[in-house]
Symmetry: C2
Subunit: 204 residues, 2 copies
DNA sequence: CGGTGTGAATGCTTTCACAGCC
DNA sequence: GGCTGTGAAAGCATTCACACCG
């Protein structure tokens, strides 16, 4: 099996989750059944996923945790190294955005929050934070200067598309969208939707 | 086409999003191309979805917004009426949970936050909120009494599964999971995962 | 024309089945 | 026996193609 073949999106999402599980795993070895027990995914699906990654070090008695971690990190270029830090920003400093203004949620991850933005100057001035906060008008230079690549969008729905446009114009490559708006983005920009309202509708 | 046939999950998710778009839609009529333009979904996919719902009122010159809204609400039992309020709670009152302690995010939706829980008594006592806050030990009676059916889980990862177990034991039927843990829940309980960390990994 | 309704065709994803290994 | 590696088969989801309608 060639690693060059494109990995399906569904597999990619699972592997990234699996990485979290592996990092927290207590023992040296792990089987597809262990993984199945902690995720609910079918064991055969996990083996198939790993096969797609070109993994073949399981040899009949489980996987070595570290081998798996390495393989997944290599495949998706997400090794957690000092040189591999990913800079993010918070766009929208309302209640939700302000709550994200420290790195406790992202601790132990390669992501670091480097800045916050709001179109309301007031918010920018009132809030205290360990990162610089900027009015949205200064976004472009601030994003360039801090080498920010990803954004967490926490504005109100009515401002979502406009703020999104500004972010992509400033060169942002990925957006975690916490509004319930479906964003239109240029080719190549990735979006993950994390609207609480949408999620609630889905768990009914 | 029979409405009794089970609607695929993917279609259901789109239709629930579509509902938001329709409610905010300015004009009386909307075409599959309009919807395509505001979502990025292929127009044919939208027509196919509506066909699966058994909708057939489009007759060649677009859909009437209100017809569509009605059909979607009926199909998924999510009409927004006074009698159809859905009570929720916040489990975990750290920075993130505390930020959700007002209903501004859920305004105009059938969801209402009715309570907050934390296993740390301190948090419960310190925080001000318009809803009652309870220590986790009092969860079961509080959930019964307030007729709460859904929970937003905002505890730290290490406490996620335990808090989840408590919630399901208390009768919660759906969980919006903002931790990066993959939860194990009893049959019949729905979970939507909204971990920011996971989402960031996916937009790389 | 510019639209919908419809089923067939295509493309993903997941599950199954089973040989092979420790 | 318990587990992996592998491809085929089954199950979903999306796109296409085109008749038909106003």
């Amino acid at each position: 099996m060639e690693t060059l073949t494109k990995i399906p999106e569904a597999t990619r999402k699972r592997m990234i989750q699996l990485l979290q599980i592996l990092r927290a795993w207590h023992s040296e070895k792990i089987t597809s059944l262990d993984i199945s027990a902690s995720t609910g995914w079918k064991a055969s699906l996990i083996r198939h996923d790993l096969w797609l990654l070109g993994f073949n070090k399981g040899v009949s008695n489980g996987y070595k945790k570290d081998d798996l971690i390495e393989k997944i990190e290599d495949t998706f270029f997400i090794a957690q190294t000092k040189q591999n830090v990913k800079n993010c920003c918070i766009a929208g400093l309302g209640r939700l955005g302000a709550a994200l203004l420290d790195n406790s949620l992202l601790e132990g991850s390669p992501f670091v929050i480097k800045a916050g933005f709001d179109s309301n100057l007031n918010r920018v001035e009132i809030l205290r934070s360990i990162f610089p906060l900027y009015p949205a008008s200064e976004m472009k230079p601030a994003i360039k200067q801090n080498e920010i690549e990803y954004a967490i969008l926490t504005v109100q729905d009515k401002d979502a598309q406009q703020m999104c446009d500004r972010l992509t114009a400033a060169g942002i490559k990925g957006i975690v969208n916490m509004t319930s708006v479906i964003l239109k983005v240029p080719e190549g920009v990735k979006v993950e939707n994390l609207s609480i309202l949408n999620a609630l509708n889905l768990v009914i």
